[in-house]
């Protein structure tokens, strides 16, 4: 089962909502759209569902052109960030509603709703109205309604965003299990990199209406194609700075120097951009040069330290930039203090002037 977007684009007047996009989504595993608010996730989903018409390009389902086919004639389910249920229906009737539309016999409906309620742990509350449920239960009802019919395409638009932290954690774990033995294409939009990572599957990073990279989630995270994809897929934001290559040395604005890495060795001298995820910048090691093998010491004025009980987050100045260090354990620095930290150079990304990753 495949859903293929060929040069799909959406413009409204002079505003480009989605730039021409090619994307092939497959069944099995989540297809995650990762990007900030207004990056185009919802628009892209609506185009996929047929709720909105593209201004250019075509949409193919299993090779068949479905561009412009109405959503009613396609087998699509959608779950939104807000818990959308029929307020006057019981949980049972809510879950049964798509089957009633499909004129399924009552016995079959009963069987399916029962099975779905068991799976979603909603069985004890089938007779209740949505207003009497907790947020998590309401969203599970909405999910059950989306899953009870055998949709070919299931679109989940930030379904966990309005839930409590712990509930989110729980449902994040359940969701992949629910879809494990279904033959459908699942698209999941989120703003949170950690959510994308934990759900696995494939991820498309979105930025200002463009898909900047698409591939297996772990791959996209570890091998970003360019600085934007790396930024989108980093929480807290990735630390960046301009570094200058001079011969066999790299200079970080006079703050630190290190030997030229292999990827830059055959590149001309000049300015490059370095990208380091916060957890690769940690408090300095207790060695003579203040850094472990493969790391370089960087010192900077501390702006704020946040301690979370198991981790420490230090915001500090690196030249004109503010960098963030995220480390296990408790490392407390006072405001204004100059902190010694180390950057793990083996994990550093180098980007060219055009923002593209420089790789060997």
């Amino acid at each position: 089962m495949t859903l293929e977007l060929r040069q799909i684009e959406k413009t409204l007047g002079t505003d480009v909502h989605i730039h021409p996009t090619d994307l092939v989504l497959e069944a099995g595993g989540f297809n995650i759209l990762l990007g900030t608010t207004l990056s185009g996730k919802t628009t892209l989903m609506q185009l996929m569902a047929g709720l909105d018409r593209p201004t250019g390009g075509t949409l193919h389902f299993n090779g068949k052109d479905v561009t412009g086919m109405r959503v009613q004639n396609r087998n699509v389910s959608m779950v939104y960030q807000q818990f959308i249920n029929y307020p006057n229906f019981t949980v049972y009737e809510n879950i049964a509603s798509p089957l009633r539309v499909a004129r399924m016999p009552d016995a079959e409906i009963k069987k399916r709703v029962g099975a779905m309620a068991d799976l979603m742990r909603l069985s004890p509350m089938l007779d209740r109205k949505p207003a009497e449920l907790s947020g998590g239960q309401q969203q599970r009802t909405a999910l059950a309604r989306a899953l009870v019919k055998d949709s070919e395409l299931v679109l989940l638009d930030e379904p966990l965003a309005n839930l409590d932290f712990k509930l989110r954690e729980e449902l994040r774990e359940e969701l992949p299990k629910l879809f494990a033995d279904r033959n459908c294409i699942v698209v999941y939009a989120t703003t949170e990199p950690i959510e994308a990572l934990l759900l696995g599957g494939s991820t498309a990073t979105l930025h200002e209406g463009r898909v900047t990279q698409f591939g297996p989630t772990g791959d996209v995270y570890r091998n970003p194609k360019d600085v934007i994809s790396a930024q989108v897929f980093s929480e807290p934001p990735m630390n960046t700075a301009t570094v200058r290559k001079v011969g066999d040395r790299v200079d970080l604005g006079g703050i630190a120097y290190w030997p030229c890495p292999a990827v830059l060795s055959d590149k001309p001298d000049g300015d490059y951009q370095i990208g380091l995820r916060p957890h690769h910048v940690t408090p300095a090691a207790n060695t003579p040069d203040g850094a472990q093998d493969g790391c370089v010491k960087i010192s900077g004025e501390v702006l704020v330290t946040e301690l979370s009980g198991s981790e420490s987050t230090v915001h500090f100045k690196v030249g004109p930039e503010v960098w963030v260090s995220l480390a296990h354990g408790i490392h407390s620095f006072g405001v204004g203090e100059v902190a010694d930290l180390q950057a793990d150079l083996s994990r550093a990304f180098y980007f060219g002037a055009d923002g593209a990753l420089i790789s060997s």
């Binding site: 900030t36 608010t37 907790s134 947020g135 409590d164 932290f165 712990k166 509930l167 954690e169 703003t191 949170e192 990199p193 950690i194 990572l197 934990l198 696995g200 989630t217 772990g218 995270y221 929480e235 807290p236 934001p237 995820r277 957890h279 702006l303 704020v304 946040e306 301690l307 979370s308 009980g309 198991s310 987050t313 915001h315 995220l326 296990h328 408790i330 405001v335």
Partner: protein, 362 residues
């Protein structure tokens, strides 16, 4: 500024509460020192917003007293208590400019215009709004509006406490981070007492010096983020704080020794006082692969980027562990070791040995 004491506070939304469950807030006794950063943390419906409204004076408690320093303020209105509050949904006065918004609390109190002007400009500087002082508040983004709400609290010099009711709910995720650090930075700069209510452990732990964890109308534990992480008093705290939460494994206790599936487990606390249901609590961070230890099988590995979450079956129970990026996961014949200093026995949910010693929250 003031020290805040909550004395035997309780609240019920019913006329005549009878059962335990009728109380939205069971008895709460807390003292908060002047100038501290505190958080009220708990799931939806745990009573944290009720408690917040009682402190701010928007709600009269059914019983107990609220003291600011030594003054009983239980009967006073929010205005008389000199408090400030930032709400979940940003509240700004639409028809006013940013400047007028910030000046509003001072003008209402008849502060002269020269002093007002000085304060407003000072606070605008603090919240990075100097360049927008003449703009209509209505046109600001959600995070800008939240900064204005906070600014209205900071602008007054007589504020006893600034309270935050899930202030980051409507903020874009990529800006949440920034605003959260900003709040922390502001607290360090202005040194006012701040109380932050949230269901998000990361927000609570990073903001507060001391966190009050609540569940079902009760205070379960009060402690520093490190306390809550390393020494949870109750399995609820262990589960609620940390991602994933603490492993809670039913076990047996025999002669002061703890057994999990036939294997003896060393624990940090006193197991001799056990009784009732017994559970071992160990955080995923404190479980590691070892040459000798509990046999287990790996069920699932989730890649969270900077670490991996490994789900295992061990002694017929699900046990999660957190493995750093780059650590290899053995293929089979997996053996697990618990870090003894961070492995504890819980009886009836509470840390064994803690309740008889006047455990907290009860």
């Amino acid at each position: 500024m003031a020290r805040i004491t909550l004395d035997k506070l309780g609240h019920s939304y019913m006329e005549n509460p009878v059962a335990d469950a009728d109380w939205a807030l069971k008895q709460v006794d807390i003292t908060w020192d002047d100038g501290g950063a505190y958080a009220l943390l708990g799931p939806s419906g745990c009573g944290k917003t009720t408690l917040l409204n009682i402190i701010s004076g928007l709600l009269r408690p059914s019983q107990g007293r609220v003291l600011f320093d030594d003054d009983d303020v239980t009967a006073l209105s929010p205005d008389q208590r000199h408090i400030a509050q930032v709400f979940q949904f940003p509240v700004v006065y639409d028809t006013m400019t940013v400047y007028e918004n910030l000046a509003f609390p001072l003008r209402n109190r008849g502060v002269d215009s020269a002093t007002t002007d000085k304060r407003v400009r000072e606070i605008a500087e603090f919240i990075d709004m100097t360049h927008r002082l003449d703009d209509r508040a209505k046109g600001l983004t959600a995070d800008g509006k939240q900064k204005i709400s906070l600014g209205r609290g900071l602008v007054r010099t007589d504020v006893n406490v600034i309270m935050f009711d899930e202030p980051l709910t409507v903020i874009d995720p990529h800006l949440k981070w920034e605003l959260r650090s900003k709040l922390k930075e502001l607290h360090q700069r202005v040194g006012r007492t701040m109380i932050y209510v949230t269901h998000d452990q990361t927000e609570a732990l990073t903001f507060a010096d001391k966190v009050v964890v609540m569940n079902e109308g009760e205070v379960v534990q009060i402690g520093t983020p490190v306390d809550l992480f390393e020494r949870p008093q109750h399995t609820f705290v262990g589960h609620f704080i940390g991602s994933p939460g603490m492993n809670v494994l039913p076990c047996t206790v025999d002669g002061g020794k703890v057994y999990l599936g036939g294997n003896q487990i060393a624990v940090a606390n006193d197991a001799a006082q056990g009784g009732g249901t017994a559970e071992i609590g160990v955080r995923p961070e404190f479980v590691s692969f070892a040459d000798n230890g509990l046999p287990a099988t790996v069920v699932k590995v989730s890649d969270a980027g900077r670490h991996k979450i490994v789900e295992t079956r061990c002694a017929d129970q699900t046990l999660r562990m957190l493995i750093s990026e780059g650590v290899e996961i053995p293929a089979d014949g997996v053996k697990l070791a618990f870090d003894t200093a961070n492995t504890r026995l819980y009886t009836d949910g509470w840390l064994a040995g803690s309740r008889s010693a006047g455990g907290e929250g009860r």
